[in-house]
Assembly symmetry: none
Homo-oligomer: 218 residues x 4
Amino acid sequence: MPPQKTTFENLDQSKRERIMIEATKEFAEYGFHQASVNRMVNRLGIAKGSLFKYFGTKQGILEYVFGHAVTMLKAPLKQIRLETEGGDLFERVRQVTLAGADFIEAHPNIYRIYLKMLLQENFPMRERFLTRIRATSGKFLHSLVQEAMESGQLRSDIDTDMAVYLLDTTVDRFLQSVAVPFLDGDSILHGADRQTIETRLDSLLDLLRHGLSGIPKT
Amino acid sequence: MPPQKTTFENLDQSKRERIMIEATKEFAEYGFHQASVNRMVNRLGIAKGSLFKYFGTKQGILEYVFGHAVTMLKAPLKQIRLETEGGDLFERVRQVTLAGADFIEAHPNIYRIYLKMLLQENFPMRERFLTRIRATSGKFLHSLVQEAMESGQLRSDIDTDMAVYLLDTTVDRFLQSVAVPFLDGDSILHGADRQTIETRLDSLLDLLRHGLSGIPKT
Amino acid sequence: MPPQKTTFENLDQSKRERIMIEATKEFAEYGFHQASVNRMVNRLGIAKGSLFKYFGTKQGILEYVFGHAVTMLKAPLKQIRLETEGGDLFERVRQVTLAGADFIEAHPNIYRIYLKMLLQENFPMRERFLTRIRATSGKFLHSLVQEAMESGQLRSDIDTDMAVYLLDTTVDRFLQSVAVPFLDGDSILHGADRQTIETRLDSLLDLLRHGLSGIPKT
Amino acid sequence: MPPQKTTFENLDQSKRERIMIEATKEFAEYGFHQASVNRMVNRLGIAKGSLFKYFGTKQGILEYVFGHAVTMLKAPLKQIRLETEGGDLFERVRQVTLAGADFIEAHPNIYRIYLKMLLQENFPMRERFLTRIRATSGKFLHSLVQEAMESGQLRSDIDTDMAVYLLDTTVDRFLQSVAVPFLDGDSILHGADRQTIETRLDSLLDLLRHGLSGIPKT
DNA sequence: TATGAATGAGCTTTCATTCAT
DNA sequence: GATGAATGAAAGCTCATTCAT
């Protein structure tokens, strides 16, 4: 019998949520291979067989969790893109980044899973998931830069790929620094609050604006 | 009988090296928990008991490997610090970063272990190792910034911690982008060569110079 | 609540047949223990609970299938017995054997179940079913031989039991060799057609006739 | 780590034998899928891990057992072939068959495994093992028939393939009838002793001699 | 009557660690 | 000092059967 997502989707919403939360927590804490289905079902108080009926395999659980997360992430990004159409590149990047920070704050365990996958070559589905994510974010930033280029917001001598690389690096590393406190409180800026976060982001974007457009913010 | 590092250190240098290389490779590829002592001894062609005699436990092997690596890393950093004393902050950061890139190119498996540990909370010794590394690198950058501040290389309104954060972020993320091709060739700039690497670093530092000192490189 | 064959027998004939066919196929392909009730209900598109309502247990399904088959087999044998009364022993055996071959061709999966049961001690109901079948076929052949003996068709120095043994062996092994191509096409005479089958049977019976009656066919 | 037959072969002979006997018994009684490694190690009083170290997988255990058996079977067959070279076909077949009966009496569990495999399509290694056995026995009988044909022992109008089929059928079914008492005592000739066995074989071969050569034994 | 979610004992397999030789 | 056989807890996964709806 193949895994039957149907069975899971027929459950009470509350039970479904408890399972999702517990599974996400387990993968976030232990990565894939060290995550234990035994622990999950013990904490959930359900039978082992049930979880396997829902998702088929341990990997199936992970795929469901991750797929769900990607779906949840896409909506706000799309909204921002539409709402800010024609606006300033750096402001758009700022909003997207803050949306990312919001997502991480709301779903820190999802982001922990992502970070683990990023640096563990033997994480299952790594290629598939990363490709999917990079295609999305790469195309997204590329289109923002392209539009900015066409409307003269960037220095004409700037290479498009380099600009995308710098923006990607900035957003990505910034989000990592936001997330680390959620991992275990061990970061340079311990437990940064929202205010600090925005200030830091503004500093970074200000640097980029300087370098990429030649026009200081103020 | 306690683990006897002595026994290991009495071995032929060539045997010692083979063991170190193989162990490093195994941890780099599989992380800690998925690493297999069986595979190590099979590839090495030595008895399982021997490895446990040398290092006591699997974790003991990791500690030895990582401790060795930290020792190897300290020497070049110290040298640069002394040789560039009194020089330009960004040039010093540039040299340190390139030294980091050299180390990664020479010992990619060490860096792979580091990246895995960074984001896996259940990696053993994680706290101890990260504290040790961050104390080193934090103090290092802090002293560079301090010296630069005192010699008027930075805008006086810049917060020291913010400057350290920006530099740390830049160096760290840059090194990650250098390393990823060694992981699986899946990065934005595929298989960047040395030339490209230096160009990218210069762009990043140029941005920082703009923002932090107000004085463009030229 | 005990199993309720009644419930099953109240079903549409078409549904009942689909269930019988699918169950027979499953047991024929996998034997008893490896047969999966899950697979059956999935292929049938009915609820698992229903099958258990009809037959009580997995073993109950098998018993129903096999009992049904034995019933189907008895009718043609009885008919032949009556129609050939008083005829030549070897001709009677020939007709019975060919009736068996017809049955196997019409219901190969039933015969596959029989063969599996024959050689698997842990097949449930094995004793019961085999006893039942052997009682039937033993008595059947015995009566044929007895009648032939009485009417002088056999050498008087032939032991009755030995004659039954030889006939039984011949018929049984012949039917196995007919059936094997239906199992997986792996037999000495690959995919023998009806013509070949009859020729082979005639050879075997000719040998027996030689030995048992001293009178060659032609 | 691959299965290490070495480990097993380094064991005491007595331990090795106990393991072989217990494993053979388990597979003989339950077939492959229903056989339980748990039961084996419990009866043996050894750790579960040990058995897997020796043979790698459950299937590995079976392969070792079966391979061992085939090796044991080849020696006597080869000897008979050489010793009877140039002799009477039916006498040669008789000796080979009796050697088979001896083997079955000495190693009934091996033969039980063979019979189970024969009729279970999902028995692992079935194709491989059967091909191996049939190649051996088919070539063997074929060469005996060929030699007999050339030396004029058979009627010239007999088809070689038909003769091989009849001999194969006879030997094979005869051995099955010898073996069945060892399965569960449930056979037509209950617990036939050696005397009875030889008499029955002689009857069968006498029939064949009649049919194939036209020359009755006496 | 039909459904299908829940169960849990059982399965095969792995692997760090120990210790007698 | 080196060896490698032995261990056993824990892992992921299956499946006949039950029972509330």
